[in-house]
Symmetry: C2
Subunit: 160 residues, 2 copies
């Protein structure tokens, strides 16, 4: 069984609220390859409400964000022909995030988040994404991801 991108992150980088497998309170988004695209599915919790009946926009932004940084890491590994769980980790962080909310996302159905790399240069990867609910694209996003700066990598002192 193929592992989700996020499940290959090393333990010290697996605490993200949106997608880290070690964050007990988190959303645990899991992203996979689907041909040249990446895909993740997430069913919002009943309290992820904006207006009653519709999904909270901040959650949609969060899902796009985590799916895009995962996509950036996976696409970099694929482009270099190396494993995603290489050491040091290919973990990416977000430099900028843009989301257009095209229509309200109904609450109570799974959201499908799809990503595609639109640009890759050095440590920077640009990912575009769509969010689909009940067969309709409800949001589009663009994320500029950069490989994690060395000073953000958790060190022994920070972990202690």
């Amino acid at each position: 069984m193929e592992r989700a991108f996020q499940d290959t992150y090393p333990d010290d980088l697996a605490w993200c609220y949106g997608c880290g497998r070690l964050n007990a309170e988190g959303l645990h988004l899991q992203s996979y390859w689907d041909g040249e695209e990446t895909v993740a599915t997430f069913t919002p919790r009943p309290y992820h409400i904006a207006i009653p009946g519709y999904v909270y926009g901040g959650l949609i932004a969060s899902l796009i964000d985590c799916h895009a940084t995962g996509t950036a890491a996976a696409a970099t590994a694929r482009a270099r022909g190396i494993a995603l769980d290489t050491d040091p980790s290919l973990r990416f962080v977000t430099a900028s995030l843009r989301v257009e909310y095209l229509k309200p996302s109904p609450l109570g159905v799974p959201l499908e988040i799809r990503g595609r790399v639109s640009e890759m240069s050095g440590r920077k990867v640009v990912v575009t994404a769509t969010v689909t609910a009940a067969g309709q694209v409800t949001a589009r996003g663009e994320v500029i991801s950069v490989q994690i700066p060395e000073e953000m990598r958790p060190g022994p002192l920070r972990q202690a």
Copy 2:
């Protein structure tokens, strides 16, 4: 004591995960006027982690989103010289959200979110925002808010 913008939302529009006073699981962001600007303060919970030691970017996007829609409603009420808790409510939703992450936001300190209206035309209000942590601006945002479309207002059938 001045009420937060979000605390003036009518009951049927007060369920937002980011700022609705009736969402028991939510973040309960509260925004206020400060002269021509608006301000909110939020201390991330210990699990709102991106990389260990730093705040989750999706949370920052969420705070900017809710602060901006609140600012849009408050600024519209002020421009019209009417109360914010007027009926029908001036509730706004997000058409687009852009966040630039300038530097990592340290976890463990309050975040200050400041908003300012940059454009107001008809049902549309554009709000720019900054997020400050420990005296440094760590993120900038721009939100295009629109007054809630009639079809998104909860009706008796949806509430039943």
